[in-house]
């Protein structure tokens, strides 16, 4: 029986602490793609070849502590049920891609869930480090330590000119994708967001909704990440992203200040209404829940509301996702049931039991 304790609680330990700029930056993540030499990439690998990749990479855990980040637990994707897989996706511990992969896909997760290593996703190895707040440098340094630990035992596919060789041409070179998840309600309310996002895309960065490719930003959450992986050093990529994120933080802060100065009553009304609806609604669809939770988060940041805490907000963001709702309240539910349980869960969390 696989160890599925990771799907039982919504909030990973790493998300509990307070971190720099955490009223605007939710989390920082660095992902590194690596492949083994002399083996086809997972897409073309035979069952035997992907099993070999899995074996070689998980064997390392027997004689290396991967840089001392605690015990790692191995979960084979084929041994997980659909809801557990979805919960792991909602907690960002695995990608939707890996969840759909039955051929020798696996994930190694550290005790505090801040490190997850995906095996046989699009590439043989994807090392991911998550940190709360704006700590993209720390996440990068940590990912590099784990990268070195793997590299001490296996030969990576590497080419002098092209760097680390990856299945997709968009990852070649450093194989590194660094991203920062930001909550930007004031920039959205003051209609500055599009201008900023188009400026961001001109410096080799990209902005997406929180669940990756093709999804729109829900609840004013935006993920800023590097687009370029070839022709820049890892340090340059990290510094570029970090610099831009700091600027976006400044813009969001001054937009918040302006909103408070110019329309305090309206903002307060909006925050209190959202808090009221979340506290008493009987049915909440995911879009409304995300928007109201965003208002409440802003309210707490601006001092309009005293609670819930940032940790509780982060927890609610994950708990109100479809996979987690089904995990908490029973296997199969239709949309209406989900909306009802979502409302119930939020009411419980906010302390009303109506």
């Amino acid at each position: 029986m696989p160890n599925i304790r990771f799907t039982e609680k919504p909030l990973s330990d790493w998300m509990r602490g307070d971190a720099a700029d955490s009223e605007i930056v939710i989390s920082s993540r660095v992902r590194i793609a690596r492949n083994l030499q002399h083996l086809p990439f997972p897409m073309l690998a035979t069952n035997q070849q992907s099993a070999e990749a899995l074996q070689r990479l998980t064997d390392i855990l027997q004689y290396d502590d991967l840089g001392g980040f605690g015990t790692f637990h191995t979960l084979k994707i084929s041994e997980l049920d659909e809801i557990d897989k979805q919960v792991l996706v909602e907690k960002h511990l695995i990608s939707p891609n890996l969840a759909n992969e039955s051929r020798n896909g696996a994930v190694l997760i550290s005790d505090d869930e801040s490190v997850s290593v995906m095996i046989n996703e699009e590439d043989h190895l994807r090392i991911q480090c998550l940190y709360p707040g704006c700590q993209v440098r720390e996440a990068w340094e940590r990912a590099m330590v784990i990268d070195d630990a793997f590299e001490a035992h296996v030969d990576y596919a590497f080419d002098d000119r092209r760097g680390f060789l990856t299945s997709c041409p968009t990852n070649v070179g450093t194989g590194m994708r660094a991203s920062v998840m930001m909550h930007l309600p004031a920039l959205v309310m003051t209609h500055q967001i599009n201008r900023i996002l188009s400026a961001v895309s001109q410096v080799g960065l990209t902005v997406r909704g929180i669940y990756g490719e093709g999804s729109e930003a829900v609840g004013n959450l935006f993920q800023v990440s590097n687009q370029i992986t070839l022709g820049q050093t890892e340090a340059e990529i990290i510094e570029n992203l970090h610099g831009v994120v700091l600027q976006i933080i400044e813009h969001e802060r001054s937009a918040r200040e302006r909103l408070m100065n110019e329309s305090m009553l309206r903002i307060t009304d909006r925050v209190m209404r959202s808090f009221g609806i979340l506290s008493y609604a009987a049915v909440l669809d995911s879009k409304e829940a995300a928007q109201r939770l965003s208002d409440v988060r802003l309210g707490v940041d601006l001092g309009i509301l005293e609670r819930p805490s940032t940790a509780a907000m982060n927890e609610l963001n994950v708990m109100t996702q479809p996979g987690f709702l089904q995990k908490s309240f029973g296997d199969k539910m239709n949309t209406e049931e989900r909306d009802m349980y979502r409302a119930k869960l939020i009411r419980q969390k906010l302390g009303t039991t109506l």
């Binding site: 939707p96 070195d148 000119r161 760097g163 997709c168 450093t174 370029i228 022709g231 820049q232 995300a290």
Partner: protein, 174 residues
């Protein structure tokens, strides 16, 4: 698994649709997918990074004129995994690390367009990137030596020259 629409044919398409953050999983057969007109990743209606890339690759091959008698890029094939350049342009993904060598002279325009650059300057792995590490070390020493020469510090420059020679010798011996 049977198609969730017709319950008759086996489901061959499995995908997740995200609308306003609401995720829905689909397991359907190709016939029902066409009838329903669902957005399938990789089709012109859908959006995926790979379909976007394959668009770029097709564009790339159509703009280059092919002289008769010569084998075009579509005939290139990776001798390790069997992936052809035509398949690569369609999928937008390599089959194995060797594909990079076999398709090498076709890749610069693609990388230029995606990354604005064609050469890696970042991290070098210890085990498989040993030569590159020494090469970069030599380049750095040469730059340093030039600076000493400009400042007429010939003794230091000579020391660096010896170090460079030593490293170059090591590289040719390997």
């Amino acid at each position: 698994m049977l198609c969730q629409e017709c319950n008759m044919r086996p489901a061959t398409l499995h995908f997740t649709k995200i609308v306003n953050g609401e995720k829905t999983e689909f397991h359907i057969c190709e016939t029902c997918a066409k009838e329903k007109g669902e957005m399938i990743p990789g089709t012109p209606n859908g959006f995926s990074i790979h379909s976007l890339l394959s668009g770029m690759l097709d564009f790339d091959s159509s703009t280059k004129s092919q002289s008769p008698g010569h084998s075009g890029p579509q005939n290139l094939q990776c001798k390790d995994c069997g992936m052809t350049y035509a398949q690569f342009s369609k999928l937008g993904r390599f089959g194995c690390p060797s594909c990079y060598q076999y398709f090498d002279n076709r890749l610069d325009p693609l990388f230029k367009r995606v990354h604005g650059s064609t050469n890696h300057v970042g991290k070098v792995p210890v085990r498989t990137g040993g030569r590159l590490k020494v090469k970069r070390q030599i380049d750095d020493l040469k730059k340093e030596m030039q600076q000493h020469i400009v400042q007429e510090e010939f003794e230091s420059a000579a020391e660096l020259r010896d170090q460079i020679r030593e490293l170059e010798k090591e590289m040719t011996e390997e």
